[in-house]
Amino acid sequence: MSNKIKFKIDGVTCEAEKGQYIVDAAWENGIYIPTLCNIPGIKPQGSCRICTVNINGRPMTACTTPLLDGMEIENDIPEIREIRKAIIESLFVEGNHFCPACEKSGNCMLQALAYRFQMMAPRFPYSFPVKGVDASHPKIIKDQNRCILCKRCIKSIKDEDGKSIFAFYGRGHKLRVHVDPELADKLTDELAQKAMDVCPVGSILVKEKGFDVPIGKRAYDNVPIGSDIEGNK
């Protein structure tokens, strides 16, 4: 028996499975709700808040909220766009994001979101934190200046026993993501590349290669982020 239910996004009637997360349901219906910390297929955490939508009038994260019958969702409205833009701007000022020399440029989700939401200059003052670069691992460089603490690497890069190879260290403004020293040798070439790919910014870099995809062939060179979702309409 089908569990399809009806709901509305910005007045458009959509159908999806009951209990699906709103982000997944929206994407299936060709409606783009931006995400940053979320990885499809992995339990969401709602930490970055970029997927904030109004659900029945209240702002909530679309990646963690299951769908209910008759939900009225506001997504692409000025109020929500402004919230998202402010979140993007805050992520930029909290780190040291210098796109011109970053090898993730063109493939960077944060940069792509900034373009999509037309960030010109951040409304918040730059904090220029001193965060450093950890290049001690033989396979990767962890540039803490660019890390947005999204946990995507912690959640998705695991050894054969299911243990996370990346982990949080420190608290508050000293919180950093590092390779767990006890599992450092479990980071194979394949996992290192996967970690770089799953990082939404340029914080995890596989050593001794970079800029090998020419401009024009990178993920977001020609179309804005989310265009593939919207193409499903």
Partner: protein, 483 residues
Amino acid sequence: MSRKITIEPVTRVEGHGKVTIHIDHEGKVTQTRLHIVEFRGFERFVQGRPYWEAPVLVQRLCGICPVSHHLAAAKALDVIVGAGTGDGLTPTGEKMRRLMHYGQFFQSHVLHFFHLVSPDLLFGVDGDPAIRNIIGVAMKHKDLAVQGVMMRKFGQEVIKVTAGKKIHGTGAIPGGINKNLSIEERDFLLKGDDPLNAEKMVEWAQGALDFFKGYHKANKDFIDNFSRFPSSSMSLVREDGALDIYHGLLRAVDADGKKILNDIDCQDYLKYVGEEVKNWSYMKFPYLLALGETNGWYRVGPLARLNTCDFIPSPLAQKEFEIFKAYTNGKPNDMCMHYHWARLIETLHAAEMIRELLNDSDLQGDDLVTKGTKQKEGVGLLEAPRGTLFHHYRINDDDQIEMANLIVSTTNNNIPMNNAVNYVATREMTGNHEITEGMMNAVEVAIRAYDPCLSCATHAMGKMPLEIKLYDENDNLISKKFK
């Protein structure tokens, strides 16, 4: 009463420069200095970054010739990744880089001559400043202005298909290149609609050269004697002595043409070249160690290159080179304004080389990158439009850059530019109680012969104000005016 005149910033020169001229109570110029007042700091803040980031990071030094920095850094990193130097790359890797470099040479030389220098020639050094600019050229000499704009555009298109975009691309990576040239891209440049094709560019480059030669004929004294002084010259040359702007051995000749640096391997440059620091400029003063700080200075750039090389390996430019050399009976040319003559010969050479490379099927190859045994240190030299460019990097065990040394073209020309400024200021201003706008522009004309790009930063062209300050003998400001 002695006076101090400050020309700040220097106009129609991209970036910020300042000239101070001290005049004693008899109206005699006692000291002239060209100050570079911007601090860039790339050597410091590239430290700690992954080495493969350097070609993309350091090219931000400049908006006119970023390709030079991009390629010089990539060449240094070729050594670090074990690809060797010069012919260590695959044919596709090396030829794509060369095409990028010739494209940049072409657009940069065109920008230099048409946009920044031609107003001085067309309207006179002391012409009305309101029309002595590229807009004035466009109004009065439309064909010339259109050619300048379209030639620069063509060069930028060459950069775009090799580096990914027109300014600050990513094409060169350690050990090679990240793309080849598609047939569509090749045909766009080779067979594009007029005027944007390689054939037309060769024709127009020849035309620009003919224009200069005609001007020279009519203004012989100005072109031959303006800020003329002898010097040594330095540049890269190919192993057989040919002009080669991408790779070669380092050669220097003295004012008589005698070799004072005999085709050395670039990796050894520190054995031969030193740098002096002075407290009044952020720009250092390079010199040949064997000759010392006082006598070891040299010129770089188009004039120096044609003084050091034995021939130019493209037929039309070689023919012009022979005429150029015959003018000084084969001796090194020491005429400041002949920089422009040499520049236009090189522009023709670049157009010829672009045409030749576009017909080379190696550009469609798929073997893009070479790597070998990793090294800790590498040096990359090439000839940037304004002269020899040195990039030197050392990395640590974690693949981070721990040392960078850059000697940029403008730095190599530091003393010659100071000498040129001093020469002109002394000749134009000594004994004159009133310092006119034309006299000050003459000082700038001397700088522009060498370099339109003092600090490797871009600004609105021709929009920078000129500020003149007069000081008494105690350095007190007694009057100032703006233009």
